[in-house]
């Protein structure tokens, strides 16, 4: 039976002798890198590529082609190899396309020697990338598994190899592409493009984040309901493939529909859904999309107006007759006026839409239920412990520079599909650069506590458990609301022994639940096992962590979300830089959020960089303590 993998999903491999088939519809380079137990590629002799096609246990083809067959004998690999990464790259400089976004989505399949497919993966959603890591085959507890990766690199092979810890990646990338160019010169002609089914795979909403050059992993904004369902891995997706979960955009304020002074009045809950919460959720996503699109229209018009003006000014300059004198001045003036006129009209259209969204936001924001509401919303003062898990949770606000006052609630689906990373590093944000390091770390921990409190509050009594690792006890002040109200599973774990104990407990839990699910015996779990969703807040990483603990943490990040164990890392990536690329998958698997405003999140439709601000209680507000106090009371009342 073939497993159709999605990004991030893994699958056990039944044999060690395998073939990996690649169909791309267009000539691509296929290669593989070997990694040691820390994921590091030890040197150029650990890379199989067209210039060096055969290594012990693996053989790749010598030229770029639309279809590849890579032979792989996992048993014949050197014992030091723990990971095989299959990579694809476009043959740059061969006159072909330079980005995967302009060719069909590549399709890879892992097959046995008899040709039976074990697992397949269609790498969708690529855009400007010219190299992509397709699959990862890795050794876990003596057995081999395959994971669908699909991580693209706009910086090409150089960036990819650099990310894997190869020294002088540029030289090796050049050597690979040179070998391909020689191979192409040898080849008679490129094979005709195939029309595989994968060719027709549609790109779903692109999951790109803003590409800061040194944070290669992009940080997707969660998709609306239908798309996340497809992404969550496993299970059947009952969502209609083409039905929008978001409401249709609010009626455009067409001139004849809305006479001046009387625009269509927006109403909260004006979207589809089975409950008011679902309608509001869909309405918020509708507003998010509308703001993204109307801003895209505006930016596109302004860009066009400016580039046209530049061209016209160039033309005036290059014409000797009009370079000086009245004709030239008039032409320049005309070009500027044209640009001005178009920009003004674009701004009018934008303002019309923004006014509509402002009005909608004004009615929607006060109508939001507690899980979606800001901390300063009065609904929190009437807080009652809920009986049901809500559909989503507000993590903060998103806005664009065109209208900073217009805040879109950033809602993520519950149960969480991935962990969170509250970045306590200085990063790239202007707001973070203004704060000193200690203040920023404090803010990061406060943010984490606010998110954890919100999660505790929106789950029914006893259905959400929070653990904290604070090795040096440095976050005691931030953690006070959680500790003093008694809503934690235990006191924050301190010291190396405490860290190890908490991680061991949660790892064991993941193992047990996984085993029970695989065996189809979910009701045979030990009676002492807490059935609640688990959240682990980790402060000060990697302080207090030994290698074993780091591996357990990675395991929790990989396997935890599927069985209800989530991570919330409060960390500066710089602090863990000694671990090198081995931790990259960990950071990538988490949704990065910041304690201060930072424009690092991209929408799934056009990929604007949105400024995120965390949902925090107003200065001096006691709302978190009040809410947590009620949570603690309810737990006692329910005996949980």
């Amino acid at each position: 039976m073939t497993a159709e993998l999605i990004r991030g999903q893994n699958h056990p491999l039944p044999h060690t002798r395998l073939e990996i088939r690649v169909s791309a519809g267009h000539p691509v380079v296929a290669g593989a890198t070997l990694g040691d137990d820390r994921g590091r590629v030890q040197g150029p002799e650990w890379i199989a590529h067209p210039g060096s096609p055969a290594l012990p246990g693996i053989e790749v083809s010598q030229q770029a082609a639309a279809d590849h067959r890579l032979a792989l004998d996992l048993g014949a690999l050197p014992a030091a190899v723990h990971r095989v990464t299959v990579l694809l790259a476009l043959p740059v400089g061969a006159g072909g396309p330079a980005r995967f976004g302009s060719v069909a989505a590549p399709f890879v399949a892992v097959t046995g020697l008899d040709g039976d497919e074990v697992a397949t993966f269609t790498i969708t959603g690529l855009d400007a990338e010219s190299a992509v890591t397709a699959l990862e085959l890795y050794r876990r507890q003596g057995a081999w598994k395959v994971r669908a990766v699909g991580q693209g690199y706009a910086g090409g092979l150089t960036a990819m190899l650099g990310d894997q810890g190869v020294e002088r990646p540029g030289e090796i990338a050049t050597a690979i592409l040179d070998a391909v160019a020689r191979g192409m010169a040898r080849a008679v002609s490129a094979p005709p493009p195939r029309v595989p089914d994968a060719d027709r795979v549609r790109h779903s909403a692109p999951l790109t984040g803003s590409d800061h050059p040194d944070t290669a992993p992009t940080l997707p904004v969660p998709l609306p309901a239908d798309a996340t369902a497809a992404d969550s891995g496993g299970g059947i997706n009952y969502a209609h493939p083409r039905r929008r979960s978001a409401a249709p955009p609010p009626p455009p304020s067409a001139p004849e529909a809305a006479p001046p002074g009387r625009p269509a009045t927006p109403v909260a809950g004006d979207a589809t859904g089975w409950s008011m919460d679902e309608r509001l959720y869909n309405q918020v996503w509708g507003m998010f999309e509308d703001l993204a699109r109307t801003t895209a229209a505006y930016r596109s018009a302004v860009d066009f107006a400016e580039s046209r003006m530049d061209q016209e000014l160039d033309r005036v300059l290059s014409d000797p007759r009009s370079r000086v004198g009245a004709t030239g001045d008039a032409a320049r003036e005309a070009a500027r006026a044209k640009c001005e006129e178009l920009t003004t009209r674009a701004r009018e259209a934008l303002d019309r839409d923004l006014a509509q969204l402002d009005a909608e936001s004004e009615v929607v924001e006060p109508a939001l239920p507690t899980p979606f509401a800001r901390w300063d919303n009065p609904v929190w003062h009437a807080y009652r412990v809920p009986m049901e898990i809500p559909m989503a949770l507000r993590l903060g606000d998103l806005h664009l520079p065109e209208r900073p006052e217009l805040r879109i609630p950033m809602l993520v689906r519950l149960p969480l599909e991935r962990g969170l990373w509250v970045d306590s590093g200085r990063g790239h944000s202007e707001a973070a650069a203004l704060l000193d390091e200690g203040r920023l770390r404090r803010l990061a921990m406060d943010t984490a506590v606010a998110h954890a409190a919100r999660l505790l509050a929106v789950y029914p009594a006893g259905e959400f458990t929070v653990h904290v690792i604070d090795p040096a006890g440095s976050a005691a002040a931030s953690l006070a609301p959680l500790v003093e109200t008694g809503v934690l599973a235990g006191p924050p774990a301190a010291g190396a022994a405490g860290v190890a104990a908490v991680l061991a407990r949660l790892t064991e839990r993941v193992d047990l639940v996984q085993m029970a699910i695989r065996a189809g015996a979910a009701d045979s779990l030990p009676p002492g096992l807490d059935p609640a969703e688990q959240l682990l807040i980790v402060n000060d990483f990697p302080h207090g962590f030994d290698d074993r603990c780091v591996n357990q943490l990675r395991y929790l990040a990989d396997e935890g979300p599927a069985v209800g164990v989530h991570l919330m890392m409060v960390a500066d990536r710089e602090d863990a830089s000694a671990y090198g690329p081995v931790l990259d998958p960990l950071w990538r698997s988490l949704l990065r959020i910041t304690p201060v405003a930072d424009d690092h999140l991209a929408d799934p439709w056009v990929g604007h960089a949105w400024t995120y601000e965390p949902a925090l209680p107003p200065q001096g507000s006691a709302v978190i303590r009040q809410v947590l106090g009620q949570v603690a009371e309810a737990r006692q009342a329910w005996g949980r």
């Binding site: 027709r200 549609r202 596109s300 018009a301 259209a349």
Partner: protein, 192 residues
Amino acid sequence: MTVNMTKGQAISLEKQGGGTLTAVRMGLGWQAAPRRGLFGSRTREVDLDASAVLFADKQPVDVVFFRHLVSDDGSVRHTGDNLVGGAGQGGDDEAILVDLARVPVHIDQIVFTVNSFTGQTFQEVQNAFCRIVDESNGQELARYTLDGGGQYTAQIMAKVHRDGAGWKMTALGNAANGRTFQDLMPAILPHL
């Protein structure tokens, strides 16, 4: 009242009884022609794809097709790819909705094209048409039939372009060859 358009004919997209149109739909429908011979009942599937290219002053700015179903600004939406065409007759198999009021101010022309993705020429297609419908009331404004198709795999159907404060539609009906709209760009440019 449907206007059966001929090549090069232009109509103004105004509502009957005045007023401008706010939303139009370009619908595309087709059937695979049955093959003659012993296995005559075995028709081969034909996949036609409708695309719309948005131009600002003759520069392509955005494109809506099966890989990019909504223009970035949200004004042009493709209802989704149909890989086999109509089993019956009449209905639109693929449609592109244009919300004219939301088209960005710098976009002045939208060109609609049809490509045969599977490579059959229009000779192997029957009952193919392209029509423009007023989306607000479902009334058909214009219909253009692709019959009499020859040895080509694409057609530049029509364009919708700004005309003063309103919009006009011009039937183009130009035959071309190509699998997706990218291949058609050189053929589109002379019509702008």
